[in-house]
């Protein structure tokens, strides 16, 4: 009897350890749609390098990602906007933010007779979206575009109807450059737009702008580049008109990096610097600071290390901007905070 018990317990012990090694580790994540293309690329490449680790990412939206993370149904989340203090307070464990890639928002327009790029001052964009600037030949727009004949027509404003990180970045920029905007509308993934038509998704906005003469809308840089959509220049904090490109976006992050708080919850719109593109933003992975499961914890930490070095190499291929070296350095140190 005793011999049988000893043999059984030895067998069980052997079986459980053997089981732990041969079982694949599955991590569940959910959140932002904006970085979905680069995340799927990363998770796929990482899985090929580490066949026993599988990361399953569902792009249900930043709001969904935050909610599922707080509910504990996913191992980590992703969001285009940082979590607010209220949201962080709701979590049982501390949540760490790790920026992964950079994105930018550009103004696209359809003005009959205008084929050159237009320059938009900060006041112009704020005024157009507040509804105070209503005509294309308004002095605020015309003075920045000397030599271009702008028609005396009403501006048709287009914005996003669905909640999105793109709207968050855009309204964050507007809140910084216009006190009126900050007080009346504020920043968020969905806001109470004073004027304008709503299009669903980047496709909806660009579709409406393409179809409607005298219209202006905002879309993500990646979308504009991949679909060959013409867009204008935006004036940055230094007063220069910058056309969005990956270098300008990375410059925005570098410039903001010096004063970045340690938890990386920073907005980099309207960052100082002559080459900076002002409507840029990080997108973050939201990782719990305490992960009880050792296997999951090590896998997540390893993935983050990989992402900061090797993962960044894939960014430009998919039109995402890379993180600047300063930020990568800070994040590498922050990985140690995950216990």
């Amino acid at each position: 009897m005793r011999k049988m018990l000893v043999v059984l317990s030895l067998l069980l012990a052997a079986a459980s350890t053997a089981g732990a090694q041969s079982n694949p580790l599955l991590l569940n994540a959910a959140g932002a749609t904006f970085p979905y293309p680069i995340y799927s690329k990363w998770f796929d490449v990482y899985h090929t390098a580490h066949p026993n680790i599988q990361i399953n990412y569902q792009s249900i939206g930043s709001g969904g990602g935050i909610r599922q993370l707080l509910a504990g149904t996913v191992d980590f989340g992703a969001s285009d906007g940082p979590m607010s203090d209220d949201q962080l307070a709701q979590s049982k464990v501390k949540i760490l933010h790790f920026p992964t890639v950079l994105g930018a928002v550009i103004p696209t327009y359809n003005v009959p007779g205008v084929s050159t790029g237009l320059n938009f001052t900060q006041k112009a964009i704020a005024g157009i979206y507040l509804g105070t600037i209503t005509k294309w030949n308004d002095p605020e727009i015309a003075n920045a575009n000397k030599g271009v004949t702008l028609p005396n027509t009403d501006i048709v404003v287009v914005h996003r109807s669905d909640g999105s990180g793109t709207s968050y970045i855009f309204t964050d920029f507007l809140s910084k450059v216009s006190d009126d905007w900050k007080n009346k509308v504020g920043k968020g993934t969905s806001v109470n737009w004073p004027v304008g038509l709503g299009g669903k998704g980047n496709e909806g906005v660009s579709g409406l702008v393409k179809q409607t003469p005298n219209s202006i809308g905002y879309v993500e840089l990646i979308y504009a580049v991949q679909n060959d959509i013409p867009y204008g220049k935006v004036q940055n904090a230094a007063g220069k008109f910058v056309k969005a490109d990956l270098a300008g976006v990375t410059a925005a992050a570098s410039s903001a990096a010096k004063d970045m708080p340690d938890d990386f919850r920073v907005s980099i719109t309207n960052a100082p610097g002559a080459t900076v593109y002002p409507i840029s933003s990080f997108t973050w992975l939201l990782i719990p600071a305490q992960i009880p499961d050792a296997g999951k914890r090590d896998a997540i930490k390893d993935f983050l290390k990989w992402m900061l070095v090797d993962g960044q190499k894939y960014n430009e291929g998919l039109s995402y901007a890379q993180l600047p070296k300063i930020v990568i350095g800070k994040e590498s140190k922050a990985i140690a905070l995950i216990q």
């Binding site: 969904g64 669905d162 909640g163 504020g186 806001v191 737009w193 669903k200 909806g204 179809q211």
Partner: protein, 325 residues
């Protein structure tokens, strides 16, 4: 029969009735019917419970507040209720005359083979997914509205005293009227197929009696056949209304998604289904989510009330002499 009933009479009777199938059929169908009621009640319960934050904060004011501001946590259902009702009414105003006329043609005036072929095609139309109609709306109806139909209507009706209010203003192509047109295209197949079926069931004696009394073909159809099928036709109209109220994707693509109340049919608007589809996934605040769920509850109530009215109307019609379908 002796006084002490043998103990197996009870079980024996039960086994007999089970073998005949009546009891089982009764129980099974009752279970499924009760199941539907149960699911619906669970749905309402969930909507009610999850919207309690919003109901507590806004109360009845939710129905007439016109603001929808996620940033400052101020939510109101008025623009969405308005948009839902306006688009549904416009769609019915276009679809009912069209659908009824087509149904009359297919049942009364067309040769049987033509009628069968066309109704088969129309039934196929009813099965097309709504996103396709949305694309139809974006690529065909919106440009048409902006370049041709809009200016025509504004030019001709914009200055008429009372009706002109509905045909004024800037015309972007998207708006209440465009959404109404797309919805009308979507619901017309329902009206046509159900009305045609109902019209075909009108007994021949009715037509023949009318014709023998000297009525023309049209008089017989309009004054005798159609009133006979009144309740069935009304039923098809309310089926169409139910689809129009809940339609999401096609509407959000062509309505402009602007939560404002405006008299002009060319103005952009918003419907309940569209705003829930657009904003639900990204809604992070608890009050925000609760407000969206309360909107769902409002839509459910709206559909419930309108269907109740439909039932009452059909009962009234039957009392007035229409044949129950």
């Amino acid at each position: 029969m002796d006084g002490a009933a043998p103990p197996e009479a009870g079980p024996r009777a039960l086994i007999d009735s089970l073998r005949h199938g009546d009891e089982i059929a009764h129980i099974i169908t009752l279970t499924f019917a009760a199941g539907i009621l149960l699911i619906t009640s669970l749905l309402v319960y969930e909507l009610w419970v999850n919207s309690h934050l919003s109901r507590a904060k806004f109360g009845w004011g939710f129905f007439w507040t016109r603001v929808w501001d996620p940033n400052f946590d101020n939510f109101g259902a008025a623009p969405f209720i308005y948009g839902t009702l306006v688009t549904s009414i416009v769609s019915l105003a276009i679809a009912v005359p069209l659908g009824l006329a087509a149904a009359i043609f297919l049942s009364e005036l067309a040769p049987r083979k033509l009628s069968d072929t066309i109704s088969f095609l129309i039934d196929l139309l009813a099965a097309v997914p709504s996103v396709i109609y949305g694309l139809l709306g974006i690529f065909i109806v919106v440009p048409l509205m902006r370049t041709t139909i809009g200016p025509m209507l504004i030019g001709s009706l914009g200055h008429v005293p009372i009706i002109g209010q509905f045909f004024k203003g800037p015309n972007y192509g998207v708006g209440f009227l465009t959404a109404g047109i797309v919805l009308a295209i979507m619901v017309v197949p329902f009206i046509i197929s159900v009305s045609r079926e109902v019209l075909l069931t009108v007994p021949r004696e009715q037509r023949e009696a009318a014709l023998s009394l000297g009525a023309t073909r049209w008089e017989a159809t309009w004054k005798v056949v159609v009133p006979w099928a009144r309740s069935g036709i009304l039923g098809s109209v309310f089926l169409a209304l139910a689809r129009a109220l809940g339609e999401t994707m096609a509407v959000t693509m062509v309505i402009g998604n602007d939560p404002k109340i405006a008299a002009s049919l060319f103005a952009p608007g918003y419907t309940i289904a569209a705003v829930i589809a657009n904003e639900f996934t990204e809604a992070t605040g608890d009050l925000y989510l609760s407000a969206l769920i309360e909107l769902g509850l409002v839509l459910f109530l709206l559909t419930f009330i309108l269907n109740g009215l439909a039932r009452l109307l059909i009962i009234a019609t039957e009392r007035g002499g229409g044949h129950p379908s």
